[in-house]
């Protein structure tokens, strides 16, 4: 994970460095950067990393895909790369081939449900769907009388109530009113909405960890440049200690997210308490780190970091926004607390120490 020897992550890093420079994007009011970036990502096979060759993807490993997401978080990538990867992964679970172009996943919140009707159509409403407006297809998890299914849906057949999320990216409500999907297939045994939310949560956790790394980096750099009271602010102990705490939040997020990703990579089944602990804890801890870390990064930057011209908000607001997707930290904390209580006090440590 996140190793420099990971060639897929290196490819992503190079594309982001060339075509997703934060400063350039921040000054580009027309969004001219988007198309070339998406094209380069597509040519490198990254959006369909988690889709095997025979289903139209590039067949990278789960681990390689996870490290791409960590790098994407570090660059606060504002195209639906993570969403398309997750959609491709979901479709692959049901052996549905992935189409070209941008995709996203729904539901994106544990409380929303999509129903598979008896006539094969889909009904339901999914709120907070990231990049729905930018997508060409949706990968949908739906429940019906026959159990849980995965469906590929043409965006044009759905009603989208457009919205912009905290991070400045599309975050929309998708209404499905008896929509006929392109394809529907049953989900594998044991795969349900919780599985999708846990996987989505790990994706977001890795992105948050990446964004925190970027925030730490630009905050350290800024503190070594900015002079106040006749010295660099990095020389003030109060500032140093704030940055040390930011490093701690970055470290906790990184450790939690990479551990959860590694657990999923090595899991025989995603339906275990160990996977649940790892993924839920990662989303809780990374979301808490997003809050604490971004507030320190802003504090170090002072007023300049509060301006739209400065790049800090690209990372800080996205990290905060990502907390909400696929279940917020308070949601997962409740679910994790219930699981722990249900196992009982004497089964807590064996769970924590299970790997």
């Amino acid at each position: 994970m996140a190793e420099s020897e990971n060639i897929v992550a290196e490819t992503a890093e190079k594309i982001f460095a060339d075509l997703a420079d934060a400063q350039t994007i921040n000054h580009d009011k027309q969004g001219a950067w988007k198309a070339p970036l998406w094209q380069a990502l597509t040519e490198a096979g990254l959006p369909l990393s988690w889709v095997p060759d025979d289903l139209g993807g590039s067949g990278a490993s789960l681990a390689e895909g996870f490290s791409v997401l960590n790098v994407a978080g570090r660059h606060a990538i504002a195209v639906p790369l993570a969403e398309t990867m997750l959609a491709g992964w979901l479709l692959t679970q049901a052996r549905i081939a992935s189409p070209e172009g941008e995709m996203t996943v729904l539901p994106a919140s544990p409380k929303d449900r999509v129903t598979l009707n008896a006539d094969g159509s889909l009904s339901g409403r999914a709120r907070g769907v990231p990049f729905a407006k930018d997508a060409k297809h949706f990968a949908v998890l739906a429940s019906g009388n026959g159990g849980v299914s995965v469906a590929l849906v043409d965006v044009a057949k759905c009603r989208i109530e457009s919205g912009i999320g905290l991070g400045g990216d599309h975050n929309d409500t998708v209404a499905l009113d008896k929509v006929q999907p392109v394809t529907t297939r049953p989900a594998p045994k044991g795969f349900d909405q919780t599985t999708l939310m846990l996987m989505g949560g790990v994706v977001r956790s890795l992105q948050i960890a990446g964004a925190l790394e970027a925030m730490l980096d630009i905050s350290v750099r800024y503190s070594n440049e900015r002079v106040a009271f006749e010295k660099k602010i990095s020389k003030f102990q109060a500032v140093q200690h704030n940055l040390a705490r930011l490093a701690g939040e970055n470290a906790a997020a990184l450790a939690a997210a990479t551990s959860a990703a590694d657990t999923i990579v090595n899991a025989k089944s995603l339906d275990t308490d160990a996977v649940f602990l790892e993924a839920a804890a990662a989303k809780v801890r990374c979301s808490e780190a997003a809050e604490k870390g971004s507030s320190i990064a802003h504090q170090v930057h002072g007023a300049i970091g509060f301006t739209i011209e400065h790049i800090l908000h690209r990372y800080s607001l996205r990290a905060l926004a990502w907390r909400d997707d696929f279940g917020s930290e308070s949601y997962w904390a409740v679910e994790l607390g219930k699981l722990v209580a249900n196992r009982g006090a004497d089964e807590l440590w064996p769970l924590v120490a299970s790997r």
């Binding site: 140093q240 906790a252 602990l277 997962w332 904390a333 219930k338 209580a341």
Partner: protein, 386 residues
């Protein structure tokens, strides 16, 4: 780019899990035999010499050290498992903990062969207790302000001065201490301190116990008056102790004891809320479990990186910083949630007693073994800020 932090997702190898089962079975036997009560961390004295010997007999002390010194040549990850299981069970580890974690490795690196052959096997058998002599009445975090003198004399040194806050000195057989052999130089204020092996329970050493706010007497004042240390008890370079402290610190800072010291209140809270917690209790427990899980994964990761020969100095300091801040907050968060526990919970009294003790323990956690302020200074240096 700032030097990126690394926390490789280490998985404990299969043999660790076998070992974990053995440790759990051993501890269960000890609890059944009445050696200690896992629900009562507030026992008067955590010293248990017979228990220490039985742990040694299992081969769980000095387990990473060479066999010729009584060790087992096992991995740091195996030692990690033993340490965390002992900690979570509230086992009485006082007698061997410091020797196993810290003093033994220092001797391995710096002591002459005959001393290694004499002392290390006894540590492995759980027979000897070590203390660490760092702080003095006028030098705590500022280690290099130490003034206790070691004056050269025939065949050794004469020690005069006072160490303070020395945990376990009242039961210790040995102390590894730093004494001043030369004044600091203008260029290097850290110069002039030397590390020594000190045999306790000898004339010339007076140990005065100091009461703590928990009601325990686990730390001490240690007064040296013309105490003689032979030349072969110098550990490492004369005047050069400052060069010797770095790599061991990563082990000392990142172990399970750095986030599990008050863990027992979380277990007891889970017991008290029962199988069907209300939303507030569930969320509170979930957040705490997410934290302890993350801390453990960070700590295991550092152990794995150390085993692999890396030097994650900044990462280890981060583990101690956020781990100790967390274990300090833990009893207060559990107290918040305990307010909602039903009167009928059968372990209510146990939980309240534990909280009382944990809340009293909490202030020391961010002070002992390197304060939060010192750690954040080290992290800041690692980030390129100083």
């Amino acid at each position: 780019m700032t030097a990126a932090l690394r926390f490789d997702p280490i998985r404990l190898p299969e043999k660790c899990e076998q070992l974990r089962k053995e440790v759990r079975a051993f501890l269960a036997e000890e609890i059944a035999a009445g050696t200690f009560d896992p629900h009562a961390p507030n026992r008067e004295d955590n010293d248990a010499p017979e228990f220490s010997r039985r742990v040694g007999a299992k081969g769980w002390l000095g387990m990473t050290w060479p066999k010729k010194y009584g060790g087992q040549e096992r991995s740091f990850l195996e030692r990690y498992v033993v340490t965390e299981e002992m900690r979570v069970a509230n086992a009485p580890t006082r007698r061997f903990f410091v020797a196993d974690r810290q003093s033994g490795p220092v001797l391995l690196k710096y002591a002459p062969e005959h001393i290694k052959m004499d002392i290390l096997p006894r540590i492995c058998r759980g027979e000897v207790c070590f203390a660490i002599g760092m702080s003095e009445p006028n030098s705590g975090s500022d280690l290099f302000a130490a003034k206790t003198r070691a004056t050269k004399t025939d065949g050794g040194y004469l020690i005069n001065g006072t160490k303070i806050w020395t945990s376990s000195a009242h039961i210790a057989d040995y102390m590894i201490a730093i004494f001043r052999t030369s004044p600091p130089t203008k260029e290097n204020r850290r110069h002039g301190l030397t590390q020594f092996l000190v045999k306790m329970k000898q004339p010339g050493i007076q140990v005065n116990p100091i009461g703590q706010i928990t009601g325990q007497f686990e730390f001490n004042e240690v007064v040296f008056t013309d105490y003689f240390v032979p030349d072969d008890h110098v550990l490492g370079e004369v005047d050069g102790a400052w060069k010797q402290a770095t790599s061991e610190l990563a082990y000392e800072r990142s172990g399970p004891e750095r986030f599990l010291e008050t863990y027992y209140v979380l277990t007891e809270l889970v017991r008290a809320v029962g199988k069907n917690p209300d939303t507030r209790s569930a969320e509170g427990i979930g957040r705490l479990v997410a934290q302890v899980h993350t801390m453990r994964r960070m700590s295991v990761s550092v152990a794995g990186m150390l085993q692999a020969g890396k030097e994650p100095v900044v990462e280890a300091s981060i583990v101690k910083d956020i781990g100790t801040v967390w274990e300090q907050q833990l009893p207060h968060r559990v107290r918040d949630l305990a307010a909602f526990v039903e009167e009928t919970a059968t372990n209510r009294e146990t939980l309240e007693k534990q909280l009382d003790f944990a809340i009293k323990t909490a202030p020391k956690l961010t002070i002992q073994g390197g304060t939060t302020e010192v750690l954040r200074g080290i992290i800041a240096r690692g980030l390129g800020l100083r």
